[in-house]
Symmetry: C2
Subunit: 106 residues, 2 copies
């Protein structure tokens, strides 16, 4: 299994509508991807490693799929619509990472 992480780097005065992201954007992504999205998670940054340090990312999501190929096949056709929704919740440019899930919630 792989996961695709989308991470929104934190910065002062960042605009990020966590409610919209949770209630509108991510359910739309799941809906468009169908069963290829096995599951997804959404996180809200609280802090960094040192006391009082800001979170490196204001928000992240993880999309779990069987393979990179199944992600691309399900996400690609809807990418334009999904990307067009981004300004509705943020003006941040996300960082993306594709990972192999080595240990899954053990």
């Amino acid at each position: 299994m792989i996961k695709v992480s989308v991470m929104y780097p934190n910065k002062p005065d960042a605009r990020f509508d966590h409610d919209y992201y949770r209630d509108k954007h991510m359910p739309m992504v799941k809906s468009r991807m169908g069963d290829a999205c096995l599951s997804y998670s959404v996180d809200k940054g609280l802090g960094g490693g040192a006391p009082g340090a800001p979170a490196p990312y204001v928000a992240t999501c993880d999309i779990y799929c069987e393979s990179v190929e199944s992600f691309q096949a399900a996400f690609g056709p809807h990418m334009k619509e999904i990307m067009a929704d981004v300004p509705n919740y943020t003006d941040l440019q996300p960082v993306m990472q594709i990972s192999e899930v080595v240990v899954d919630r053990q």
Copy 2:
């Protein structure tokens, strides 16, 4: 529920022993934290967002706890031992983030 993410930034020639991390380090962390660690995940970076782009992080882990306080109470007393094990699998300096789990594998 919160999660503590430990992310090892990728760089050329980074040393990272994924087997040691999965088989020795993270089970040790779980063992020391006991039930305060509800579960944990380990991921291996495969790539970035653009085709052929390197993964931002060579490896990451997520440690799930009920609260920041329960994490600190369980991790703090063992931090010295846990940190002393890091050179056994990498010379990278990790980035840490504490997040609120907003949507959990829906």
